[in-house]
Amino acid sequence: MENKDFEFKTLPVEAQEETITEKDFKLVDNSERVHEQKFQTRPTTFFRDSLKRFSKNKSSVVAAGILGTILLLSVFVPIFTGGKNNDNSKEYAYRTFLEPKLFDAGTGFWDGTKKWTKIAVDVGGHPNATTEEEKQEFWWPSPDDFVKQAVSKKEFTETVYTSDRNEYAHGGYVQFGISGEANETKVEMFTTTYKELDIDSGDIYLKAFDVYDLDKLKAADGEKAFFPENYVQGEVSFVFNYYVEVDGEAEKKSVELLAKNSKFDISSLNLTEIIKADEYVTTNNISVFKNAYFSLELEKGDDEKHNKCVLIKTLEFETENALKDLIEGSNFDDANELMFRQTQNKDLTVNTKYWSCTGNKKLHMAQVIYCDFVYDSYEATFGEMEINQEKYPVTESHMKTYQRNKWCTFSYNFEVDDDGKFYVSDFKFERKSEKCPVTEITKITINDEAEIKIYGKVIYYRYFEFDSMPRYLMGTDKGGRDMFKYVFEGLRTSLLLGIISFAVCFIIGLIYGSISGYFGGTVDLVMERITDVLSGLPWIVVMTLTILHLGQNFFTFGLAICLTGWISTAARTRTQFYRFRGREYVLASRSLGASDARLIAKHILPNAMGTIITSSVLMIPSVIFSEATISYLGLGLKGMSSLGVILSDNQTQLTIHPYLLIFPAVVIALLMISFNLFGNGLRDAVNPSLKGEEQ
């Protein structure tokens, strides 16, 4: 913008020639003495100046805020979340793996519920399961939990044709095939044993079988041709005949196998020849076929004939009676029964080992009920439920306590019957306060030792002495520990380790670097070689060896980090000393007789300190990082929680309970990010000449 008060004009030539006399000059100040003026601006300190620069860096300020919050949380969370029910050195078996909960249940997000989709369930319960363990083994999630605690569920059924492991399917039939690709020869197939092998009683082992296309078999040569290439699953199930040699006479036998629900309506099957068998032994009593290929003829309803080849992995049988057993044992309507239920019941002839096989088992035409449901783990743990007699029963002493607190009145009478046994004749229960855990008593039984069992309903959070339904912000882990407290306890340990080792390393590095940098020459050379050797050691090697020698405790960790951690500070200090030691003020001081120690401590160090401290402070996050890594390798702190220990402990839970990893991971990531941003900002502010370098 132009200044209108002032216009620049070219003077005429005559005017320029005008001479200037002494009178034209005027003295500005006529006073006798001229004094120095005081600075009008306010003086600023180095610290204040840095702070001003720092506050201009928005991201660093935000990072500092986050960092401060995390630090405060790590100090105060473990203090304020204490209490008798939240001591992380104990384990709480009743509340393992609770989902994180911040909002009320039903909000849909962070509300302590977990959505399960397409979970195969059988609400009818396992027919043979008698104990709780057996139910747990086969029914997951446990049907009790599911039925009671599901917030919402959606049911749909589906007919499964190919399913490798479906523990809840009913009906249909099982088919066994070689796994995967046609050229894969390592096939260990389905193993069905009928009781234990007991030669005397005449049992049969049928190990595995498969169906192959006979045409393919004949067409190709070599072993690989035996394996089907376009073998259509779900089409074939069969009955086959074979011959048993008894007393020199071959007798034709038929075995019917799982053919009930087959699409293939097989009317007859004839074994035509034994194509190949690795081992084939027939004596008077015993016939054994191993890896034998049988050719057989399949007949469809409309007189269509197919040639098929059957591979028998091992077929051993002894007597004619045994054959009968085989047939009986094989005719299962419920394929599921055959595949997955392992029973030790001697009356059932089948002993099926699902887990021992690596082959390919397919379930066909079976029906499965799937459910989508939302499961509220808090209700299942702390809600009002039937009294769990096995794990958390309400005993007489519980009731006495409740009475003493005047929450309820309770009394019962027992008598002796004619057989000399106790029985409870009548009982009285009245709930007087909302605080009373027991809400209803339906029945009381008594045993010979006069111990009573109370049946009824109980509010479990009151039973476990909580005032209200607890909320775990970050859920609980396998020991029932409150992750919210546990994570911040771990963070506190990690931070403490970081800060203490930073302080130690900083002091050592400062002293070492000052001596090396100040004196220079031979001293410097020798000292530099020492740091060369030490810095050549990978930190992981140093940490491993130290921890192996001295044990997995806090002190050792600190020591392991400090062994090589001081080197970077020493290097920085040395560089700074090289920079300042030749300055004039140092020379001046020295010529006035200052000692080396004074020069180092009073003159050079204060000047160098800002740069050194700000670039060394980034060591804290790297220590936390190293600690987490070494914990992950299995050498973590023992008896203390740190972020690394928490993360590595919960690593195995990732697939089922990802929140156990998400929360500590978020905390450590947040810590690292904010520490790095804050550190960079600090360095830029203290040492503006380094701005832009991001190292």
Binding site: L548, Y632, N676
Partner: protein, 345 residues
């Protein structure tokens, strides 16, 4: 230059020697770090072998002056053998002699009893190297490219986005990233949950590379991006570049002819060092993804107390880090003859 290089190499060699010696003594003096004999039937042979190599003393009677008894074995001729460890210093010289004469770095005791440790390392090295090489080949160009993009678009949204992502990925510990990658890509997705075995299908083997390579690449992409950006920013504001522009070069010419070349001076040595580094394995990745590389071997040997294997693994990691250091320093000199790293000022 030659003299300088030779001096550097000699120094590094001495350093490596000192470090390995130190490590040897530390490993040998570990609690429980004595020689563990492998299976029952091969023990005598194992001890005789160790006696021959000079690590164990075979005494006819009990001799407490040698410290704790390793084992007493009565052979077929009913002669008692009392086996003791030789003093660590003697073991050290015996070990040095074995290395120089037979390139024998010791035998494994737990992982593969009676196998030479070098064989075990050589078996496991190719897997680690293959993963590392692919990851380097991906991450170096990508990292540099991202760095250039960010550096040339300084203080624009592109730069901010890249820088923020880099900051985030550099700050999250690798094991967290790997865990979640396995969770999302393998557990929820279709990639293999663990490193495919040697007899797996080719397609599975190929897919098995994705998670390890990606997780190794993240860190180094971020590292390169960051340093390239910083270098480029510095060069872009330098005076010779302004001079080049005033002399009439276009922005493109100035960048390709002057800025990039100078910005790469510190980058290229680290790229070379990265190629040296392919011989070491990432412990966490290999452990989490069940890769049988030498990083996993380290943890495996550590947990099973096979200290001979552990020691050789440590020696490899040390040598590689030293080697990478030399390559970095020497290549500085080759790329920019004005620079002599580590030389006296």
């Amino acid at each position: 230059m030659l003299k300088y290089s030779l001096k550097r190499i000699l120094l590094a060699f001495i350093t490596a020697f000192i470090i390995i010696t130190l490590t040897f003594f530390l490993v040998k003096s570990l609690p429980g770090g004595k020689i563990f004999a492998p299976q029952e039937n091969t023990r005598l042979a194992f001890y005789f072998d160790q006696v021959e190599k000079g690590y164990v003393i075979d005494c006819m009677v009990e001799s407490p002056q040698y410290g704790t008894l390793l084992e007493k074995i009565t052979d077929l001729d009913n002669v008692d053998h009392y086996f003791y460890q030789t003093p660590i210093l003697d073991q050290y010289f015996a070990w040095l002699k074995r290395i120089v004469t037979a390139w024998d770095w010791g035998t494994s005791t737990v992982i593969k009893p009676n196998y030479s440790t070098t064989t075990i390392i050589m078996e496991r090295l190719p897997v680690s190297v293959s993963i590392n090489i692919i990851s380097v080949l991906i991450s170096v160009p990508l990292g540099i490219l991202l760095g250039i993009v960010a550096g040339l678009n300084k203080n624009t949204w592109i730069d901010h986005t890249i820088s923020t992502l880099v900051m985030i990925f550099i700050s999250i510990p690798s094991f967290v990233i790997i865990s979640f990658m396995i969770y999302f890509f393998a557990f929820k997705g279709n990639l293999p949950l663990r490193w495919p075995s040697s007899d797996a299908a080719t397609s599975q083997k190929f897919l098995g590379y994705i998670i390890p390579v990606l997780s190794l690449s993240f860190g180094s992409i971020c590292g390169y991006c960051r340093s390239v950006r910083a270098e480029l920013c510095e060069v872009m504001s330098s005076e010779y570049l302004i001079l080049a522009r005033t002399k009439g070069l276009t922005r493109r010419q100035a960048i390709t002819r002057h800025a990039l070349r100078n910005a790469f001076v510190p980058i290229l040595p680290s790229v070379l060092a990265e190629f040296i580094g392919v011989f070491s394995g990432s412990m966490i990745l290999e452990n989490l993804y069940n890769i049988n590389g030498i990083g996993d071997l380290y943890i495996y040997a550590l947990n099973n107390k096979d200290y001979n294997v552990l020691f050789v693994d440590m020696a490899i990691f040390t040598t590689i880090s030293l080697l990478a250091g030399i390559v970095t320093d020497l290549s500085y000199g080759f790329i920019d003859p004005r620079i002599r790293m580590g030389e006296k000022k």
